[in-house]
């Protein structure tokens, strides 16, 4: 059987908030395979951000195991985590998070720089990535000269350039109007069709519907995991819906 690319085995994450302990993720188990397009959906406080941080190797589980391509991330030190993020993950953020002082080309080159790719190859690959999002002609511009949608496309190029195993998009349309948001989602769909594994984190059902599979979280637990064309995917479970509070988003 094929090894899942992302495997959560009863992953829990606890936070200390003052005297109380908050359970942000409560024994979440899930598997995501290569080539999937998965949306992790949930309200604020559902644990989706915790999930995304763990998938993105920005955080490690308190208990349980997270295997990324078979490697146990929980056992890695900071340097190994940095390397995994660099090699296996491509981040797309809600706020784009481009570096304002760098040109678009330089921005896209950053992950390759940390990967130790030689300068010439780095430039070439970054140009190709910009080309693929249709912004190659603006490579010398700085992020503040672009519209939000364009900036997000640059950040997609940056996520792609290192040829990561997983593209992790955290509310990628959150700061965009619906039209440009739709464009960005189309790009993500396109990337998935080319064979990339895309994990989309969102609170918005209509955006989640772009994905083929939906994992719905509530109170740190998975309440639905299945295809996005099942109407049950968009039903909020339990009585605590929308009123969980406490746990960080």
């Amino acid at each position: 059987m094929e090894t899942p690319l992302i495997a959560f085995e009863e992953v829990s994450k606890l936070y200390h908030m003052g005297d109380s302990i908050v359970v942000a993720a409560d024994k979440i188990s899930m598997e995501i395979y290569r080539g999937e397009f998965v949306a992790i959906v949930g309200q604020s406080g559902s644990g989706k951000s915790t999930c995304m941080n763990i998938i993105g190797c920005l955080d490690v589980p308190t208990s349980g195991r997270y295997l990324l391509d078979g490697q146990d991330v929980g056992k890695m030190n900071k340097n190994q985590l940095a390397e995994i993020r660099n090699k296996m993950l491509g981040f797309i953020f809600q706020q784009y998070n481009l570096l304002p002082k760098l040109t678009l080309l330089e921005n896209v080159m950053v992950p390759l720089m940390y990967a130790g790719v030689p300068l010439r190859e780095r430039k070439q690959r970054a140009m190709d990535a910009l080309e693929s999002v249709g912004l190659a002609s603006k490579y010398k511009h700085r992020p503040n000269q672009l519209s939000g949608g364009q900036q997000q496309r640059v950040s997609i190029a940056r996520a792609l350039v290192g040829m990561p195993s997983v593209i992790l998009a955290d509310e990628p349309t959150g700061a965009l109007d619906s039209k440009t948001g739709r464009e960005v989602l189309n790009i993500l769909q396109g990337l998935n069709q080319q064979g990339n594994t895309v994990v989309l984190i969102t609170h918005d059902n209509s955006i989640a519907a772009t994905a083929k599979r939906i994992i719905r979280l509530e109170d740190g637990r998975v309440i639905y995991d299945g295809p996005s064309d099942d109407p049950k995917a968009f039903v909020r479970g339990g009585m605590a819906a929308g009123e969980t509070g406490g746990a960080p988003a």
Binding site: K78, A82, F93, K101
Partner: protein, 397 residues
């Protein structure tokens, strides 16, 4: 990701906030310039002093005899005996008899000129060369000849360059000019070129001086002048049995002493100037801390994209070091400029040829210190940046 790229990144960061970078560097610039100028000034003074002393002869001892008020005394013959007995330590001797009487050339009285009675070895001791005629000779001492050797100033100003055979009257006694010296100073009235040298025996006779109280002695080895001085002092002590009856001054010793004092002074002043380097360093640390908190989000993004802690660390350390190194370089240029300016001012205001001479060592030290300060004071902010939690950093506004 190597040092070169961190450096490029640092330069572009410095360039995007020019005013802030300049103000941050200012402390280092002032500190480095101050160190360079002060050390340069010290160097210049040392060189100037050494030159002055060397022109007096660092291989010479100056002997003054005061006597004890008793009958015990030292004559010029005794001194010659002492030098002869200690030829391993002492070489040449010349009594020096300063005459107070005014000189008269033709009808003009010259009060500014110095008239000194010396031996035939005096010009050798002082390293003066005779340009025209002859120097003083032993026979002049024996015969108490009324001859003299004059400096170039007198030759040019009073004899129109033809002093040989002319007459100078000293205290009413006519002296025949037998020689003219080469230029010693700059041939002006207030230089060593306004001088008349006569045989010391003649001078002593005319001054009614019973015993000669002042001598110049050369040592055999300039590096052993302290030992030679000791030998001479012992001889004199054996005669007078009183340390207060004489003094022996070694020019080399005085020079050493003054150089030492100057070195201490310069070190203290440079240390004070270096305090501003530390203040400058703290300025860099301060601005780096500000920069780290301003760039928290950037640090988060870089970490998410795979930057290891040591990359973030080196980025900030190199930025701090680059800032202070640029400050150091500007400081050197500024310091050099100030040194040249100070030289011009000193030469014009004090009429000396003191040159403010920044040493290569002090420049190297200043650069080294400024880079070290950058690294030292950049380390803490860099550590803070490297340790940031990427999740918190990404959430930071």
């Amino acid at each position: 990701m190597n040092v070169m790229e961190s450096f490029k990144m640092a330069v572009s960061n410095i360039r995007t906030s020019k005013m802030r970078s300049f103000l941050t560097m200012l402390g280092i610039i002032i500190g480095v310039a101050a160190v360079i100028v002060i050390v340069g000034l010290g160097n210049g003074m040392e060189i100037y002093m050494t030159e002055q002393f060397e022109s007096m002869g660092t291989n010479t001892l100056s002997v003054s005899i005061y006597g004890r008020g008793t009958g015990r005394t030292v004559s010029d013959e005794d001194m010659y005996d002492i030098v002869e007995r200690n030829s391993d330590a002492l070489e040449l001797l010349s009594p020096t008899v300063t005459m107070q009487s005014p000189a008269k050339i033709g009808t003009e009285t010259i009060t500014s000129t110095s008239i000194t009675g010396v031996s035939e070895d005096y010009f050798t001791i002082k390293d003066y060369d005779v340009a025209m005629g002859r120097g003083l000779q032993y026979v002049d001492m024996l015969k108490r000849s009324r001859v003299c050797v004059v400096g170039t100033y007198l030759n040019q100003e009073y004899f129109g360059g033809n002093a040989l055979g002319q007459t100078v009257k000293i205290g009413g006694t006519p002296f025949t000019v037998v020689g003219v010296l080469n230029e010693i100073g700059d041939s002006t009235e207030y230089s060593s070129d306004n001088a008349i040298f006569v045989p010391y025996t003649t001078a002593a006779r005319l001054s009614n001086m019973g015993t000669i109280s002042s001598y110049t002695v050369t040592v055999t080895d300039v590096n052993n002048s302290t030992w030679s001085k000791g030998v001479l002092e012992k001889e004199l002590f054996d005669i007078f049995e009183d340390e207060n009856a004489y003094t022996v001054i070694s020019m080399a010793e005085i020079l050493d002493l003054m150089t030492q004092m100057l070195d201490v002074m310069i070190t203290v002043l440079a240390a004070i100037a270096a305090i501003s380097l530390v203040v400058g360093g703290i300025g860099i640390m301060n601005i780096m801390l500000v920069s780290v908190s301003e760039r928290t989000r950037e640090i988060g993004v870089r970490k998410a994209l795979g930057a290891k802690e040591r990359y973030i660390m080196s980025q900030f350390v190199i930025e701090a070091a680059t800032t202070s190194a640029i400050g150091g370089a500007v400081g050197i240029a500024f310091g050099q400029g100030l040194s040249s300016l100070a030289t011009v001012i000193i030469v014009n205001a004090l009429d000396t040829d003191l040159t403010v001479t920044p040493s290569a060592g002090s420049i190297a030290l200043a650069v080294g210190i400024s880079v070290a300060i950058g690294i030292l004071f950049g380390y803490l902010p860099a550590k803070k940046a490297a340790r940031l939690n990427p999740i918190d950093a990404l959430r930071h506004d």
